[in-house]
Amino acid sequence: MIPDMTAPLLEVRDLRKWFDGPRPGLFRKRAVVKAVDGVSFDIRHGEVLSLVGESGSGKSTVGRTVLRLARPTAGQIRFAGDDITSLSRDALRPFRQKMQLVFQDPYASLNPKMTVEDIVGAPLEIHAPELSAAARRQRVAETLALVGLLPSHAARYPHEFSGGQRQRLGIARALIMQPQLLIADEPVSALDVSIQAQVVNLLLELKERLGLTILFISHDLAVVGHISDRIAVMYLGRLVEVAPTRALFTMPRHPYTEALLSAVPIPDPTIQRERIMLAGDMPSPLDPPSGCSFRTRCRYALPACAGAVPALREVAPGHLKACIRDDLHLVAPTGLDA
C-alpha cells in the first residue's frame, strides 16, 4: 500500500519528560527537572524538521524520547499513525527499524574493537537474524557504497578513519535497516568546516534518494537554515516558535528567535549590525521562571508575561509562536529583512 504522503509520519502531542532533580535537603521533596514540558509537533513524510535551541533546552531529550530511548512522562507519540508511547520493548522492535539515530560524536559512538562490518551490520543481527553471512556482507557493502565508502572498508576498524568518514559510518549504521525516519542529533557539530559541508550534502542526497524524513537536532543556525523545510525553536523544555525556514529567518516572531539569529556570527567583516545581547544565562530548569520562561532575558517582557505560560498559537499560515506580544516588529539578521 502506498502511504498517505500528506499525513504526518511522526505526530508528537504534549510530550513531557521529567527527571528527578537533586534532593535539596534530607527531608525536603526532590525537585523535578522538566526537560521537556509539553512539546507538540508533526513531521510530514519526506520533510526535514529541525529542532534548534541552546544546551539545556531539551532538544536532545525530545529526540531520545521520540525514539523511546527514554520513557515519556506524559504525552503521545504516533509513528505512521500507530501510537508508540507506551509500547513494550518487544512491541517496539518493528518500529525501531523504521526510526534510527545518528549521533553527534563519531569518535565515541563507534566501538573501537569492532570492524566496520560488525558495526554497520549490527542492526541486522537484531532485526534480520535469518540473513546468511554472505547476504549480510552484501547489505553492508551496499550501505557503505550509499554513504560514499568502499566495500573494502568493511574489514577495517574505526580508528583507521577520519572524523568525516566515521560520521559516514554512523550514517551507514542508521540506514542499513532502511528506516523512514532519521533522527540526527548534532551530526556535524564535531566536524571541521570543510568536512561538515560534505556530511550535510550527503544527508540531503540520501534524503532525496531514499525518501527519508529527518528530525535534525542542532544548535548551528547556519546549517539548520540550509537543511530544513521547517524549524522548531526550543527554550527551557518548550517550543517557542515553529515556522517554515525562510519565514523564521526573515520574519522571526518570538523575541528568543530574534536574539538567537542576531547572535550568529556572519562571515562578512563589512557587516555592521546592532546585536541583541541577551543578558545572563538560561535559567535553571530546576527553578524556571513563572509564566513565559524567556521573560527574564527578554527585552520586550511585560508584567503580564509572568502570569501564564503562553500558548503556542498560529499567527500566520504554518507560523506558530508562544508569546503574548503581537505588537512587536522583530528584526531579522542583516540582509534577511523581508
Binding site: 568546516v193 570543510s194 559541508a197 550568529v264 556572519i266 567583516p269 534577511l336
Partner: protein, 348 residues
C-alpha cells in the same frame, strides 16, 4: 627552506614577533612536523585570528609561543618567539630558561582555553584561583589579591563579584566559567592574550557575550590578542588580521577585509564557500561547496603543495614539485600558492 618575505625590523608597536617557528613531535611512528616555518607579528591593540582545521597546527603554534608543548625528547621547538617584556625590550622565549618562562606566563602573556571546566581546578574556590596568579607575580598578600580578584570578576561582568569569589567552578555556568578564565588571564595585565577557541564550547548567545567582553577589554587595555578559531563568522567579527594555516604552514595572511573579500589561496576560498550562508536560509538546498577529501596524513605528506590533492586548481607539474613559498602577493597580503595570480585572473 622557503624564502620568507622581506620583513622590516620589529616596530615599536609590536608586542610579539614570531620568526621561523618549527615544532615537531617525536612519536614511535616517526617525526610529525606540526608547525613549519611560521612567522608573524602582532601589534598592540591588534587581534590576529589564527584559522585552520584540526591538524593545521594553529593550537600547537599558540602553545609553542608560551612553551607549553611537551618537553624534549617528545617535542622539539626552534625559531624565535620575541615577546615584549615590561621593560619594553623584546626577549626570545624559545631561548629562555624554564624558570624565567614561569615569570612570563600569566604576566607578560596569558592564555585562555576552549573548555573552562577542565582549565579550572575543581577543588579550589574561583577567588583563590584568580588570586594565586596575582600573589605569584606581584607578591601581594592573600587579602589584597582577593580584593583585586573581586575587581576583576566585576570587570568581566560577573554579578555580585565579591560573593562569587567563594564559588567553586561547578557552581557556575559555562559562560560564567569562561569569564572567570578571562579574569584570571587578565589578572596581571598581560600585553598578549592567546585565546584558543574560547567560545567554541559555548552557546551562540553566550558566545556573543564573551566576544563583546573581549572586545571591550581589549579597547581598555590595548592588549594584543591571538584568537584561535575554526569559526569564520567569529573571525569576521573579531579579527583585524587573519592567518590561515594548513598542515602546519601559513598558507595565507592578510587584513580581515581583503581576506574575506578576495581570498587568494584556494583553501581559504574553499573554507569560505563551505559555510552555509544565513541570508540564503530556506531558499532551496543547493549543494554546499564542500572541499573534497581530508587533511593528509602528516607522516605521508603529498609532494609539493599539501593542499594539492584537495585543490580544484591543482596543476600537475607546478603544484606537486616543491612546497610553494609564502609570497607577498599584495602589500600586507601573503599567500602560499604558485597559481594565485593565474587564479585571480580567472576569478575576476
Amino acid at each position: 627552506m622557503t624564502q620568507a618575505p622581506a620583513r622590516p625590523a620589529a616596530g615599536e608597536d609590536d608586542v610579539l614577533e614570531v620568526r621561523g617557528l618549527n615544532i615537531s613531535f617525536h612519536t614511535p611512528a616517526g617525526e610529525i612536523p606540526a608547525v613549519r616555518d611560521v612567522s608573524f607579528r602582532v601589534r598592540r591593540g591588534e587581534t590576529l585570528a589564527l584559522v585552520g582545521e584540526s591538524g593545521s597546527g594553529k593550537s600547537v603554534t599558540s602553545l609553542g609561543i608560551l612553551r607549553l608543548t611537551p618537553k624534549p625528547p617528545f617535542c622539539s621547538i626552534s625559531g624565535q618567539v620575541l615577546l615584549r617584556g615590561r621593560d619594553g625590550t623584546m626577549r626570545d622565549l624559545v631561548a629562555l630558561p624554564e624558570a624565567e618562562m614561569r615569570g612570563v606566563r600569566g604576566r607578560d602573556a596569558a592564555m585562555i582555553f576552549q573548555e573552562p571546566m577542565t582549565s579550572l581546578n575543581p577543588v579550589h574556590r574561583v577567588g583563590d584561583q584568580i588570586a594565586e596568579s596575582i600573589r605569584f607575580h606581584e607578591g601581594l598578600s592573600r587579602r589584597a589579591a582577593l580584593g583585586k580578584a573581586a575587581d576583576l570578576l566585576d570587570l568581566v561582568g560577573i554579578p555580585d563579584a565579591r560573593r562569587r569569589l567563594g564559588a567553586f567552578p561547578h557552581e557556575m555556568s559555562g559562560g560564567m566559567r569562561q569569564r572567570v578564565m578571562i579574569a584570571m588571564a587578565l589578572a596581571c595585565e598581560p600585553r598578549l592574550l592567546i585565546a584558543d577557541e574560547p567560545t567554541t564550547a559555548l552557546d551562540v548567545t553566550i558566545q556573543a557575550q564573551i566576544l563583546d567582553l573581549l572586545r571591550r577589554l581589549q579597547e581598555r587595555t590595548r592588549m594584543a590578542v591571538i584568537f584561535i578559531t575554526h569559526n569564520l563568522g567569529v573571525v569576521a567579527e573579531i579579527a583585524d588580521r587573519v592567518m590561515v594555516m594548513y598542515t602546519g604552514r601559513v598558507v595565507e595572511q592578510a587584513a580581515v577585509r581583503p581576506l574575506f573579500r578576495a581570498p587568494l589561496m584556494p583553501y581559504t576560498r574553499g573554507l569560505l564557500r563551505s559555510v552555509p550562508r544565513l541570508d540564503f536560509a530556506g531558499l532551496g538546498r543547493e549543494k554546499l561547496a564542500a572541499i573534497p577529501g581530508t587533511v593528509p596524513d602528516p607522516l605521508e605528506p603529498p609532494p609539493g603543495c599539501s593542499f594539492g590533492p584537495r585543490c580544484g586548481a591543482f596543476l600537475p607539474g607546478s603544484c606537486d614539485t616543491a612546497i610553494p613559498p609564502l609570497q607577498e602577493a599584495l602589500p600586507g597580503h601573503q599567500v602560499r600558492c604558485v597559481r594565485w595570480s593565474a587564479l585571480t585572473g580567472e576569478a575576476a
